[in-house]
């Protein structure tokens, strides 16, 4: 029993620390009037199901590069899809002219830079790189 408790707590600590390490922030420009955006809306913007922010202004989502840690976390937590599922999802839209996936726009630093300079862009970065050039609208 003791052993079980012990291994459970190790598991929990391990889980908590890996979550803490991987905290991701969804960010927009400081000039973007939206303050908090819920997970469902973030998901809809990144799946092309809505093209606007809650306040009605145009939303342009950008992805990190394929394989980036933040992107994998974002795909599984916010979109609930694996990368091959997403590839399949987008191939159903691309070849009908119904939608194009978010542009691959580099790493944490590159995404933060793009977001800071354009009030229409929404991206996600590891929380550790967030500074006052951008505004966090969702965290997970």
């Amino acid at each position: 029993m003791k052993i079980l408790k012990h291994s459970c707590s190790i598991l929990l600590i391990g889980l908590a620390s890996s979550l803490a390490n991987a905290e991701i922030s969804v960010i927009v420009s400081n000039n973007n009037p939206n303050t908090a955006i819920d997970q469902a809306t973030v998901g809809k913007i990144f799946l092309g199901k809505t093209k606007s922010f809650p306040d009605g202004s145009q939303a342009v989502p950008i992805d990190q590069d394929d394989g980036a840690a933040a992107r994998n976390a974002f795909n599984s937590t916010i979109l609930g899809k694996s990368s091959s599922q997403l590839k399949s999802y987008w191939s159903r839209l691309i070849f009908t002219g119904k939608g194009t996936p978010p542009k691959q726009s580099g790493n944490d630093a590159a995404v933060k830079q793009l977001v800071a300079n354009n009030p229409n862009i929404i991206g996600y970065v590891d929380s550790s790189v967030v500074d006052d050039t951008v505004k966090v609208v969702h965290k997970f």
Partner: protein
């Protein structure tokens, strides 16, 4: 100088805003290469034979899309199919006008939204099969020239779209053995799709007035038109095909009612198509059910119903899947039906498809598939059963 430095960043910001993100030329493509082999040559599935082949499942598609301005974009998709000797066709070529975020008007060459998988019929990567089951996916053309209107909607956890279209298809109706020049006029329909979480539904209705050249008596339909005319001369009450009937027939010349036989052609009769589909996908398990029915005012084509049910499971990069699909013709009532029974038209078949998809790298899927096809009736005669073995690689880029 001061004004200049002040202006430069905001101009830059303006340039980066929507137009810059949207004005890129998007080039995408898909390629499927496949090989298939039938265990015997009696039945016919997907154009394969028992000598094996690399051609029939090979499809190359290239799409370019350009956002011309904020509201207008142009899309073209060229498709080259091995089953069509690699002749290249514009499967899509249309201009989209986005009236607002949720309403699109498109004009040009469009895919007819008959089926659940119509929009990406040839993009093998987008589904688990090597090819959509031909029992259900049995319409031998897939694009028309016309206009459509798509309204997307979203409310809480439900989202979806309504698409209505109108157009005309002029081209070859290719049955695999014969080709008929055809003209589908006043081609119109609507498709309603909804998604809620893991569940999706699709309902669609389509109709067209068909004109088809069946004057060539060396073709199956041409021969059927002639035969229907001959049988149509037989008066009611005489049972063609039985000994007494044939004896009675031998004594008759040119009597009887030919009006029934006049329904055996395509001179503008309306055909209708209905479809209903249900999908489920929770990331691990997925299922699709699709039911379709064709109803022809002309008696030259038999009405039919076809449906499929498929299930799949994702296990890491592997997706094993299993599908049952069936198609069955039905005869018209009355004298037309009696004539149809004398002609080599009826078909009834089913298939079981077992397959494995392996997503071995980003944008690339390797597929293995075994399809057992059981033809109960093929063109009015007893059919055969056969097994088709296929392998394919699907790439999107």
């Amino acid at each position: 100088m001061r004004t200049k430095t002040h202006w430069a960043p905001s101009l830059l910001a303006l340039a980066i805003a929507s137009p810059a993100m949207a004005s890129d030329l998007n080039i995408n493509g898909f390629l499927s290469v496949g090989a298939s082999m039938l265990d015997d040559n009696k039945a016919s599935i997907a154009g394969a034979d028992n000598q094996g082949g690399f051609k029939n499942d090979t499809v190359l598609g290239l799409q370019i899309q350009k956002q011309v301005n904020d509201s207008t974009s142009a899309t073209g998709q060229l498709v080259s199919r091995g089953s069509d000797d690699y002749s290249t066709e514009a499967a899509w070529a249309f201009v989209t006008y986005a009236a607002n975020d949720d309403l699109d008007l498109r004009m040009g060459r469009l895919r007819i939204p008959f089926f659940q998988y119509s929009d990406f019929l040839e993009v093998g990567y987008a589904f688990n099969w090597i090819r959509p089951p031909s029992e259900v996916y049995r319409v031998p053309f897939s694009s028309l020239d016309g206009v459509d209107l798509t309204q997307r909607f979203s409310s809480g956890s439900i989202d979806g779209s309504v698409q209505v279209y109108y157009g005309r298809f002029q081209g070859d109706f290719n049955t695999g053995t014969d080709v008929y020049a055809s003209d589908y006029r006043n081609f119109a329909g609507l498709a309603l799709t909804t998604n809620m979480g893991n569940f999706g539904t699709r309902l669609s209705y389509h109709q067209a007035e068909i004109i088809m050249d069946t004057t060539d008596t060396t073709t199956a339909l041409g021969a059927a038109v002639g035969a229907a005319g001959a049988i149509g001369l037989v008066p009611d009450g005489v049972d063609v095909g039985t000994a007494t009937g044939n004896a009675a027939l031998a004594g008759l010349t040119g009597v009887g009612d030919t009006s029934a036989a006049e329904d055996f052609n395509f001179t503008g009769q309306t055909s209708q198509f209905v479809e209903a589909a249900f999908t489920y996908d929770d990331g691990t398990y997925s299922a699709v059910m699709e039911w379709t029915a064709l109803e022809h005012e002309s008696s030259l084509f038999l009405d039919d119903q076809a449906w499929l049910i498929g299930v799949a499971a994702r296990v890491g990069d592997f997706t094993p899947h299993l599908t049952y699909t069936t198609e069955k013709d039905s005869f018209d009532s009355g004298k037309e039906g009696e004539i149809q029974k004398q002609l080599p038209l009826e078909s009834e078949q089913s298939s079981i498809i077992v397959g494995l998809r392996y997503d071995y790298d980003s944008g690339t899927a390797l597929k293995l598939e075994i399809q057992n096809n059981d033809e109960k009736t093929a063109l009015g005669a007893d059919g055969d059963s056969a097994t088709l073995y296929s392998v394919a690689v699907d790439v999107v880029f």
